[in-house]
């Protein structure tokens, strides 16, 4: 077992700083449990790059994703949560301590919460990587402004694709929404989408499998989709991709923490993973509903379960 004498120690290390992580931190820090959050990108996670959130309780008119993320962060920091920017590379079980190998060096925690969430998936078609950030995008709130008075193709048919298509109409002259099968977005979003369709701002193309993104020089020119056995070209100036989520669990692949068939983290009824003292909450948990409200709730539950775990495994921190 490695020497722990000079390694920084915390009661709880939360990996991630999205809604599940920040909610958990609000609960642990309010109880004076020493808590460090480790975030590799943006506090707030995918919520922070979502244009508008209409289904998070307590905001009758909805709230901008970035504002919700900022509020969650401020609330956690008010009680003493510390967010460190960096990446956790590995979790090693050393019995009463969990050793986290990070980009800032090793750290020890009595309990760990994995709340790393997900990122948007790539489609995996020719042209996608070649035109990454030069015509192919995954963040409408970041890059939509580059498409003022231009045509856009959005690929996807879930909540994100529909929500972000509607957001992009504030810039683009027209949006072609390419949907692999049928629209899977919530009823309320579908009703909202229909208004944009009726106004001629968005055209929905069902049963179109995106096959290629084609450009000339440095510019995207069209998307090729296959529908009814035919290849159809959709002329465009840019492509925004929202085809589902990819769990951020790569760093767990060589650990004893068990993942399911789609690489989400398995847990028991206490949200504890197969490594004792390591818990999971939010979009990264196997069985998660991929909703911000659920993630926040799971974060709170995980924090309470962590408190119970720590009370049963008391030993003072000696830095």
């Amino acid at each position: 077992m490695a020497d722990t004498t000079n390694t920084p120690k915390h009661d709880v290390i939360i990996i991630g700083a999205g809604p599940a992580a920040l909610s958990a931190a609000i609960y642990t820090t309010r109880e004076d449990i020493d808590t460090l959050l480790f975030e590799r990108a943006v506090p707030g996670g995918l919520a922070a790059v979502t244009d508008w959130v209409d289904n998070y309780p307590g905001f009758p008119e909805g709230i901008a994703g970035l504002e919700l993320a900022n509020n969650l962060q401020k609330q956690a920091e008010r009680f003493g949560a510390v967010i460190e920017l960096g990446e956790v590379l590995k979790i090693v079980d050393e019995g009463k301590w969990k050793r986290l190998e990070t980009t800032s060096g090793d750290m020890l925690a009595r309990a760990v919460l994995i709340a790393t969430g997900s990122d948007y998936k790539k489609i995996g078609v020719p042209g996608e990587m070649e035109y990454y950030a030069r015509g192919v995008h995954y963040c409408a709130t970041c890059d939509g402004a580059f498409y003022r008075d231009k045509r856009i193709v959005v690929v996807g048919g879930g909540n994100s694709a529909v929500q972000e298509s509607m957001f992009l109409t504030r810039f683009a002259t027209h949006i072609d929404l390419l949907v692999r099968s049928t629209i899977k977005a919530s009823e309320i979003l579908q009703v909202e989408l229909q208004k944009y369709v009726d106004e001629g701002k968005i055209t929905v193309h069902l049963n179109v499998v995106t096959e290629e993104i084609v450009g000339e020089g440095s510019q995207v020119k069209k998307v090729i989709g296959k529908t009814g056995g035919r290849r159809v070209a959709y002329p465009t100036d840019g492509v925004f991709v929202f085809v589902g989520l990819k769990p951020n669990s790569e760093f767990l692949k060589d650990s004893s923490i068990e993942l399911d068939h789609v690489h989400l983290v398995k847990s028991n009824e206490n949200l504890q993973t197969t490594m004792k003292g390591v818990f999971v909450a939010g979009d990264i948990r196997s069985g998660a509903t991929m909703q911000i409200a659920s993630a926040a709730g799971e974060g709170a539950t995980a924090a309470l379960k962590i408190r119970e775990y720590l009370e049963g495994h008391k030993h003072p921190i000696q830095n």
Partner: protein, 82 residues
Amino acid sequence: MVKSITIFTTTTCAYCLMVKKYLGAKGLQYEEVNLDENPERQQEALEASGALTVPVTVITKHDDSQEVVVGYNLAKLAPAVA
């Protein structure tokens, strides 16, 4: 040594906020060019970065050489402003 920093942003971009927070925490001054408010400067951002994305951070050194960091990329941003 850093002479000046310009960040190209949009109003709704969370990664832009992170870059601003990072530079603010380091006590570094910067000029922000919000492309929603100044769409005529998009070409400038594109020419600097070669990308249609924000944030784009342009760091001008005292010898007038420039470093450009695309996105919220601490591995590149931190040494560039050190």
